[in-house]
């Protein structure tokens, strides 16, 4: 009896060793870089969790051509130097075949030169800075850039809302606001429409002069690209002055319904995805994420989830873990994800549809998905 137990123990030991050895050689390692501690953790933790969720789902469905994915996630603390260290560790110690990251533009730009030199396939889920994908054939991103967002908003204003005289009210002291405004204006002009443009300074709290000018110029749709703390008072003044603009904004509006639901009622903004999008992939993602982590995923999580799927598909299509093959396959991506249909342009920036959200009864509802022109 004792011998039998000993034999069984030995067998268990050997088998588990064998299993160990098998995973050591058999997994495909994908690195994830995101800030999971400090102030950036609100953005970084969902990225890591959504990436792991995607990997688990892919593994449960049989992995990539039978091989399992292993996610190795490191904390960048949102810092470029930390990101470089983490990148080196992923490449040298863990020998990952590809990287999904970084989360912030600053951290991504930090390790980008190394990644370009190593020809490492990189897909950043959320870095919006234009520099990230420039002069780097191996670097891609899943989110749209600010410039792209601005031009899609212009298309939406003119075609979906039927605007004949769009207007823009932007914060001239803020790069995000100005960037969106610039691309919105450029897209209108390209369509032969000259928008009425008014600006305000960061300290300005009284927007009535600008709003009155916009009204006098006959504006029908007003593009206000900024965050709720500024957009809220602007919408309140629009309402108090009795102006009949249709207002709209970019992804910075997310959360406007919390304090300014009545003022934002019936208005639109662009976002990466909509939680009440009825499509199956979105609802499955939200259900699985909520089941796994007990909270609803934000837009960054959705982008990271899509990024891991796209990377896995590219590795599967390449049929090997060779960098060049993965990069070629990634460039040819055509993927329907949580954040819309994604293809990459020559830079590695996504050409994707944008979810236009409408505030209805104080809730965010998906109005339409606007594709790029």
């Amino acid at each position: 009896m004792k011998k039998l137990i000993a034999l069984m123990l030995v067998l268990v030991l050997v088998l588990s060793l064998g299993a160990c050895a098998k995973t050591e050689t058999g997994t495909i390692k994908i690195g994830v870089l995101s800030p999971t501690s400090g102030a950036g953790s609100v953005h970084g933790v969902p990225v890591k969790q959504a990436a792991e969720l995607a990997a688990n789902e892919i593994n449960a469905a049989g992995g990539i051509n039978g091989q399992m994915i292993e996610i190795i996630a490191y904390d960048t603390k949102g810092d470029a130097t930390e990101a470089v260290n983490a990148y080196n560790k992923l490449k040298d110690e863990d020998q990952v075949v590809a990287i999904v990251g970084g989360t912030y533009s600053g951290a991504t730009l930090g390790f980008k030169p190394l990644a370009v030199a190593d020809n490492m396939p990189v897909l950043s889920p959320t870095a919006t800075n234009p520099e990230v994908t420039l002069d780097a054939p191996n670097v891609f991103r899943a989110c749209y850039t600010d410039a792209y967002q601005g031009s899609v908003c212009a298309t939406f204003a003119m075609e979906n809302l039927g605007s004949v005289q769009p207007g823009v009210l932007y914060n001239k002291d803020d790069a995000y606001s100005e960037g969106l405004a610039d691309s919105f204006i450029a897209a209108c002009q390209a369509a032969g429409v000259e928008p009425v443009v008014e600006a305000y300074a960061a300290e300005d709290k009284d927007f009535s002069s600008q709003l009155s000018n916009l009204d006098a110029a006959g504006v029908d749709v007003l593009f206000v690209p900024h965050y709720p703390d500024t957009v809220g008072p602007i919408l309140t003044q629009v309402k108090n002055m009795g102006l009949d603009f249709i207002c709209m904004g970019g992804d910075g509006w997310d959360g406007i319904q919390e304090n300014y639901a009545a003022e934002a009622e019936g208005f639109y903004f662009a976002n990466h995805y909509s939680q009440d999008d009825p499509s199956e992939i979105v609802q499955n993602f939200i259900a699985n994420y909520t089941a796994a982590y007990g909270e609803t995923p934000n837009a960054l999580g959705a982008l990271a989830y899509d990024a891991v799927y796209m990377m896995a598909n590219a590795i599967a299509a390449a049929g090997s873990t060779d960098s060049d093959a993965i990069i070629t396959a990634l460039a040819a991506t055509s993927y329907d994800g949580v954040t819309g249909h994604i293809q990459f342009d020559a830079n590695g920036d996504p050409i994707k549809s944008i979810a236009m959200i409408k505030v209805v009864d104080g809730k965010l509802t998906l109005d339409s998905k606007v594709a790029a022109k």
Partner: protein, 291 residues
Amino acid sequence: MENFIQQLIFALRIGSIYAVIAIGYTMVYGIIKLINFAHGEIMVFGSYFSFLLASSGLNFIWVLLISMGLTAILGMVMEKVAYAPLRKAPRLSALITAIGMSFLLQNIMLLIFKSEPKRMPELISMTPFEVGGVLIDPITIITVGLSVLFMIILQIFIKNTKPGKAMRAVSQDTNVAALMGINVNRIITLTFAIGSALGALGGILYSLMISQIYPTMGIMPGLKAFVAAVLGGIGIMPGAMLGGFIIGAVETFTKAYLSSSWSDGIVFLILVIILLFKPAGLLGKNRKDKV
């Protein structure tokens, strides 16, 4: 043309707010020759009082009066604690103390109310109505109306009542006023109370206008009201009102017809020009000090 009238109304609205705040600067300066830099923060305290009272369900008039009363008490306490001990000290010491008070009050508010802007409750109906093709919102009417009303009450108070006369006497010559049996300390306290209450009025109207409230919101209106007081002639009550309306007009029309980037710059340029060419202000008389 309609747009011009609309802009003129906005100029009146912001101008009357500046005028009400500027009176606080000018009254205190008139009495004790102190530029009370904490006045902007007093104004914000006034709007926070109304913010807290508004959630208790009181109606607008009561919210306004109680907030003004509380702010007047705050102003008197500030005077007793920070300025009264420095009555005989050099004027520079009092000025530095005023700057210190400004930071102290601001940080107390940051501690209590936190830095993120809060939504100001709608105390009055916000539905705009049309007059001759121009849309006017009730805030504009109430702002201009209340400011002018309180300025008139203040004028009557100063011209026709005993404490008002005493106030004028103290501002002309403190020592002689004391010899005539006027309790100078009481008059100074009264001045701070009235100035702070008007500051609270300005703050409440300002936060209703911008629909937000946050601890550092007093800085810009405070500075502009100060410019308004200097422009009209600091220490002279009608000067503060005139200055307030001029600054409001300059700011609004620069925003509307030049560029929003320039509006603050031009307001402060006016301060420089006034100090260079007419240091006593528009309504001030250049008085040579007799040796």
